[in-house]
């Protein structure tokens, strides 16, 4: 059947002039999408004098790293990276553990009222952070956790676990029962069955969650900005966003700050690319 169909449409597998036009316009669009990245990189390594005389599009006359160094020292960028890393890493691990425990009870244990519990998690996941922000700010002050990384870790562990529970419960709902029954007959308790059997078998989904939680927490802005006012505790997006909001930077420090914000995000993307594209679609369909 395919042979005559193909014969009837000789162009089916070969790009004609129209095909090249489609490709060209898609490439032009891709270049337009990437242009801001290129311009940021180009000008982050350009001296202010060079910028003002030659503009943003020419390659730098000579590589100039002073803007990046100045900005790095000014915001203590190494510390900001460390803060982001500690917060995102802790949240990813803790939220995955909670998601696994919840999903074990909901997906495999099928506890009573699990529909309603799932609804609560789903609503928690969609609530705007603005509707929690002031009480969280107030409570954090009351218990002495204001302006600490611990406060942000606790809060985002809850928020990410809400999504993780939702996703993982439906995955574990389809977990093969025979394996669990066999384990039970072998004398494995529920706790051991979870860690020795369920977790290893669900590792692909769990690793997607781990990476997602890390990156999502890294990217958060609103609540970390409210809770972390001290220079010692701020994350990368908070430090950059607040500085930009104050509009107190000159041209090359500004592009240097943009570059320093872009690099970790793009690095994560390149490292985790496969897991991410797999995960984006898993998350969407479940």
């Amino acid at each position: 059947m395919t042979a005559p169909a193909r014969a009837a449409r000789p162009s089916a597998r070969r790009p004609g002039p129209g095909g090249w036009a489609v490709l060209d316009s898609l490439v032009v669009l891709a270049v337009a999408m990437l242009l801001p990245f290129a311009i940021v990189v180009l000008n982050a390594v350009k001296s202010p004098a060079d910028y003002s005389s030659n503009g943003p599009l020419t390659p730098p006359a000579e590589l100039y790293f002073q803007g990046i160094i100045d900005f790095w020292n000014r915001v203590d960028f190494g510390l900001k990276l460390w803060n982001s890393f500690v917060i995102s890493g802790s949240v990813a691990i803790l939220a995955v553990i909670l998601s696994v425990l919840n999903a074990y009870a909901l997906g495999i244990g099928r506890v009573k009222g699990r529909m309603w519990i799932m609804v609560v998690f789903l609503v928690a996941n969609t609530l705007p952070q603005e509707a929690l922000a002031y009480p969280l700010y107030y409570l954090a002050k009351e218990v002495g956790l204001y302006n600490t990384r611990t406060a942000v870790i606790i809060i985002f562990t809850a928020i990410q676990a809400a999504f993780g529970t939702y996703l993982l419960s439906s995955v574990l709902g389809a977990f093969p029962r025979e394996i669990l029954e066999a384990a039970e007959i072998d004398g494995a308790g529920r706790w051991r069955a979870l860690w020795r059997i369920v977790v290893p078998i669900s590792r692909p989904t769990i690793s997607v969650l781990l990476i997602f939680f890390f990156i999502w927490t890294w990217n958060e802005f609103f609540l970390p900005m409210i809770l972390l006012t001290g220079n010692d505790n701020q994350t990368v997006p908070v430090a950059l966003g607040v500085l930009q909001g104050q509009r107190m930077m000159d041209v090359t420090t500004s592009s240097a700050s943009a570059l320093l914000g872009i690099i970790p995000a793009v690095a994560f993307f390149l490292i985790f690319q496969r897991t991410l594209t797999r995960g984006v679609t898993v998350g969407a369909i479940k």
Binding site: R110, P128, I154, R190, S254
Partner: protein, 315 residues
């Protein structure tokens, strides 16, 4: 570990697995999250609803004023302006990316992927997706720099190609600021629907297209009658998640415009932030946040209902 009893009497395992007593054991696994949720989400949300009925500066005792904040809200021109802006941001963050994303995804999958191979298609997809990996605040920093009125790259580029007359104060002109923010958000969002839709297209049975092609259906008819219905679920998910994201949008507004100039780019989330932390009008801010939360939950329920119904019809 208190629940190993069934394992010692395997004969009873199967039936025991369905008794409520055994299920009760699983509840313990929910306990840590239950406590955390109570403290981090349930209690703060109820506190927020509670303070929305009070006048409170954040210190001292809140004073009960009933529904006054909500009455004030409905007469507040800034609140309505923030809503209008938010609807325009839904257009920029959900509707436009979905439409453009569909066209690009189909072009990549159907055309580039089949005629030029999988590699160019996935490279192009990665290029479109790249802005999505940025923290939204960093995307704001990038564009805040690009669009700066005096030294920003965009105006400089326009001048260097002889279009200096088109240079604008992109974020500082009240007539332009929202359109500029919308354009930035389209740039930021577009990769997400493309990735989701391309994954969806891979699921569609090629036999459907082959049959339609033999029947002489035009490209447009195949797109409308096969592609769209087949990836309907993905379209719903993208519209829902992007609409919610647009309703919550805060970072780009904070970084790019601070809601201004005037109230040109004010959105509800930023308006509540201003009342919480700049005007110390916590009760009013809480009322705005509560209304926003209700709208988001209603939109979510509406979408999910609609999706259920259309799935039912399809069957």
């Amino acid at each position: 570990m208190a629940v190993q009893a069934p394992a010692t009497r395997p004969a009873a395992v199967r039936r025991a697995g369905r008794t409520p007593r055994r299920r009760g054991g699983y509840r313990l696994y929910l306990l840590p999250s239950a406590i955390l949720f109570l403290l981090v989400i349930v209690v703060p949300f109820l506190m927020n609803v509670g303070t929305s009925f009070t006048r409170w500066s954040g210190v001292g005792t809140p004073r009960w004023i009933g529904l006054d904040n909500y009455v004030r809200l409905f007469g507040d021109a800034v609140f309505w302006a923030s809503f209008r802006n938010n609807i325009l941001l839904i257009v920029a963050m959900a509707i436009v990316p979905t439409i453009i994303g569909l066209i690009i995804a189909v072009a990549l999958f159907d055309y580039i992927g089949k005629r030029f191979g999988a590699r160019p298609a996935s490279l192009l997809r990665a290029a479109y997706y790249l802005p999505q990996v940025l923290p939204v605040a960093v995307a704001g920093v990038v564009w805040g720099w690009m669009l700066h009125p005096s030294y920003g790259a965009l105006n400089q580029i326009l001048e260097s190609v002889g279009l200096g007359a088109l240079a604008q104060n992109w974020l500082g002109d009240p007539d332009l600021a929202l359109a500029t923010v919308m354009a930035v958000m389209v740039w930021f969002q577009i990769g997400y629907p493309i990735v989701i839709f391309m994954a969806g297209l891979q699921r569609v049975d090629p036999a459907l297209y082959e049959a339609a092609e033999i029947d002489g259906a035009s490209w447009w008819r195949r797109f409308w009658h096969i592609t769209i219905p087949q990836i309907r679920q993905e379209i719903f998910v993208v519209l829902l998640t992007c609409t919610i994201a647009a309703l919550k949008v805060f970072g780009p507004i904070f970084v790019l415009t601070g809601g201004g100039p005037g109230r040109a780019t004010m959105v509800p989330s930023y308006f509540s932030y201003v009342n919480f932390f700049e005007r110390a009008d916590v009760g009013y801010g809480s009322a705005i946040a509560t209304v926003l939360a209700i709208i988001i939950v209603v939109v979510t329920v509406f979408f999910l209902r609609f999706q259920d119904r259309s799935e039912g019809e399809a069957r």
